[in-house]
Amino acid sequence: MTPPTSETKGVKRRDFLKVLGAAGAASASIGCGQEQVEALIPYLVSPDQTVPGVSTHYATLCRECSAGCGVVAEVRDGRAIKLEGNPEHPVNRGALCARGQAALQGLYNPDRYRGPMVRQNGQLTAATWDNALTLVRQRLAGQSGSAVRFLSQHEAGSFGLFVDQWMSGLGYGTHYAVDAEADLAVQAANQAEYGAVWPALDFGAARLIVSIGADFLDGWGASVPQQLSFAAARAKLTDAPRFVYIGARRSLTGLNADEWIACRPGSEHAIATALLGASGGASGTTLAQAAEASGLTEAQLQRLAEELSATRPSLVLAGASTPDASLVAQAVARINRALGNVGTTVKPAEAILSFGPTVGARELEALAREMEAGQVQVLLIRGANPVYTLPKATRFAEALARVPFKVSFSSYPDETSELCDVVLPDHHALESWGIAEPARGVLALQQPVMEPVFDTRPTGDVLLELARDGTPAAPGRFPWMTYREWMTTRFPGGAAGLTQALANGLGQGTLPTRSGAPAPAPGTQAPTPLAGDGDFFLVVQPSPVLGAGAGANKPWLQELPDPVSKICWQSWVELHPSVAERLGVHNGDHVTITTAAGSLTAPAWIYLGVRPDTVAVSLGQGHTAYGRYAQGIGVNAVDALGAVWNGAGQLALTQARARVAKAEGHSPLVSTEGSARQHGRGIARALTAAQLAAGVPGEVHHEFPGGPPTEFEPGLRSPAANDAVGELSRTDPRALGMYDPEHWSQMTARRWAMTIDLARCTGCSACVTACYAENNIPTVGARWQGRSLRPFHSADGSGWDTRPGANILKGREMSWLRIERYFEGGEDGESDFETRFLPMLCQHCGNAPCEPVCPVFATYHSPDGLNVQVYNRCVGTRYCSNGCPYKVRYFNWHGYGEPARRQYAFPEPLHLQLNPDVTVRGKGVMEKCTFCVQRIREAENVARLENRALQPDEFTTACAQACPSRAIVFGDAADPNWTVAHQVEDQRAYHVFEELNTFTAVVYLQKVNHPATGGTR
């Protein structure tokens, strides 16, 4: 600083320059200067039938589970950006579950193998295809017979046939197709009793549904068609079937039941046989014996048996995971026969053909023993991950080490492929060809929707190349150059038929079944009580979100709260409240479960929906490999399981008693739930079928003065807001602008609105993932994304909080749409309770509390009824979020959309999935549900381009499109031609917090309960 002197006058040159420099810097930073110069890269030759900036749609198949749903991939400028159900596909009829939506994050997974890998000096290192294939050829040469085995993840359709043909054509050994998520016991029993592996289940034809552990909404069987049928059945309201769930733990399916009968684990067989006896079938168990075995009262079972014989038709389902599951499934199939349900609610003639034949863990254990004995020289593995899914007692990893040469075709670095010698990464399903026969006579086509992301090759092509030269194949035996060629020869009509089927992904014809493939048979062993010592039964269930673990590497699925527990990025142990009290355990305290097979430690979650003598853990987490999003998160529940199989050879997930003890440590639950109770707020409402029939309005919470609660007037203003006085009441057209009903733009003619039918909603959360996919919502829970709240006090002083889900612990999840789950009743810990699911999103209030508090007009109400958030106006005061009574506004804390940041949510190439129609929000911006305004504008643009008016129900939002319950209806409530305009007039319609005069555009239709006759709830 210049020393002060009294002589100097005027501004000195140096001071002048200082001011000038500072002002220049200020104006430069304000002006932002020139945008970074980008290049515009043209095509070399433009592809036919594509228009830049306009999506192309390809019909293909979803391979995330075995069900074989049809999807339509939206491809923009050569990149798949969204998956939706194929409306013409017979299995899923347009709907798609969360796992199907997340297939895109498998395609663009940053941890995918980017090219072939070869083990060198103990490490898998990148290699060329030529080198890798030469190596495989060398090692295959001279091997024959059962020295070469093939282990593949079962997928519906032709690939299993192809591998069979390849193996037998080259004279190799067994091809094991496995499916860790398949219920082999039920499949085998169905085949034996109904003559179909997976008969279609018609929930709508039933008057009573009884599920003995069959979690048909959690991923058991073909969950999308089952959910479509179940939701349609429940939408019959007063005529809907009553649903009783029998099981030790209430799964998502169980939470949708009207009544939960909490039987002791392992007693399912006694209950099933007793019900069989009561239904007129041959049975050796009386209701009294079953009551004793199951810990229930005889009256309870008596009432169920009576209801079952009095209510016809009914639908009884078995899905027990005990060692005697095959016997349960057999008994249940006989109950259905005795009650005359076969052909009515269980329809073998309309079977889903996607399942089987597959082998279970028992056969893989036998394979492991042969591998240990040195009988296997080369093992080829595609898709399956037995090192993760099999219990440690099978010693599969150790056995694998004894195989001299292991080849993996895995796309991802999973636990099994990491132990292999060569990795020849397969194309992702969205890059591959295939066919399946999901329903009899219907061929569904799988076609590549885009160029491969990485240097991968389809396994079928690789196998053909291996067969062509080097190996002892007769030259004429494999004349096809590619798997596609082979497939074309099997497609009715050949290449022409295939081309024709490409348009909608469907053709007519049948595929041969895999003859000679080992198939599970229903077991004959006697039911035995669960073994082991300890006061508790351990129940392990597949996760409805992650399955048996395959979903764990997709951040959308990690971030999707479990529909039951609302916990994400974590494993948890479910404890009954009374047990928690006895052990002195609170939510998040670690507990250790010890069985004869092993032990696991995880934080506790206190849950009403498990029996007091039972603890439950979900599968899916605890990966030791499988990429950055899966590795090191939670525990693998299989670690506590021994090599116990059910009659069909499948791993028994409920197999033993366990000791449970409080352990050291506490991990806060990464939960998106505020409270599991409504505290009288009337958020999720319900009424009974009897009340509905009698015209009782159900739970009415607060009456408020003003217009009727479901009035939707065209245009901006709710009746309340129209009551404005003083200056705000000016109504001259100049002041109103586009809000003037007479304005030439006619924008006020519409009122976009949504109805959500809680009688249909099952809480499956497919809509949440669809919203993430459509709206570029960042996931924030990965371990490197967590900023410590007190930057200089984090564990390692780095300022980073590396616990999985650290941002979510601070309430910083970004889920524009969330499913709230509320429990009703059961406060005493003993009586039955009810669960209500409620999708909560921006309510687009006509009189929104968020709008007047925004100091910069970044949120306001558009003339067509949207509550708009303008990102470029937002300065991040978060006043709007404080004002919102629904808590549906989400603040972008860390710049998840900025590649340079550690918190970047779309690491290359995940960013290729981003929807180009939606802004990727930057740091410091409030964001929320937009009612998919990009779809509204796109539909308006298309209509204008075609010189026509918007048609009613022409388009819908991403959540409504995906919903496998068809619970969400979107449209223009001011135009009576749209479905939503009628739905809002429904007797069951209500607004959440209508006493706040928010005049929301989201209308909920009350849930309808079906209590037992004489029951209150």
């Binding site: 001011v19 304000i30 945008e35 110069v37 043209p42 070399l44 900036g53 586009m738 733009s745």
Partner: protein, 213 residues
């Protein structure tokens, strides 16, 4: 300098910064208006549009059916320029000459060797921020001539950004309306402009959510 006078610097700084802010907001200083970069291929719009009479949509082929106007594939250039090469022989009174722009094209796309073609890394001139949606087809189909926003491209030997592309510039047209007559005049269609002289300006919706989402 006295201690008192050094305090004068603080308000002076703010005054100048404020003036700079005002200037930048209302002068278009934050815009890339006038940006005229050198392009990898020295493409002469006047030759193609004025001399040869090609329609804009021949190369910018999706401007009337997509939000994205489309830039021509290298194959589109080479459809003609495989035959029309850089060497022009003497034709009548027109002297022989060698075309440097065509030489630069053929460096990226040697004629007769499609496998050796490379994409031309054009420098992007018109760029809206990522939070703005600009559907070209809505404007083109409403009769907005290309020149209304892009200026007299038909006369530009080197293309520059004609308009500021600032929001005020967009909204002005949406609120006051687009004059077909002026648009046609800008496109050089004086007869059409005269015929459309009495047409009412065409307005467009100006709600935030029309463009920002």
């Amino acid at each position: 300098m006295s201690r008192r006078r050094s305090w004068v610097l603080v308000p002076a700084f703010f005054a100048i910064a404020l003036a700079a802010l005002g200037l930048s907001a209302y002068s278009g200083a934050s815009s890339s208006q006038g940006f005229a970069p050198l392009q990898p291929v020295d493409f002469p719009h006047p030759v193609h549009v004025q001399q040869l009479g090609m329609n804009c949509l021949y190369c910018h082929y999706s401007a009337n059916r997509s939000p994205d106007p489309g830039i021509p594939a290298v194959g589109t250039c080479m459809g003609c320029h495989t035959i029309i090469g850089p060497n022009r022989p003497q034709i009548g009174e027109r002297a022989a000459f060698r075309s440097a722009p065509l030489d630069s094209l053929h460096r990226y796309a040697p004629p007769g060797q499609p496998t050796a073609w490379q994409a031309i890394p054009w420098v992007r001139i018109h760029k809206l921020p990522e939070y703005v949606r600009f559907p070209h087809m809505r404007h083109v189909n409403a009769g907005v001539t290309c020149q209304t926003c892009h200026g007299p491209v038909q006369t530009m030997n080197r293309v520059y950004q004609f308009a500021s592309l600032n929001m005020g510039w967009c909204v002005n047209c949406h609120v006051r309306g687009y004059s077909l007559s002026e648009g046609l005049r800008a496109a050089g269609d004086t007869a059409g402009a005269r015929a459309a002289a009495n047409e009412a300006p065409r307005k467009a919706r100006y709600d935030c959510s029309v463009c920002h989402y």
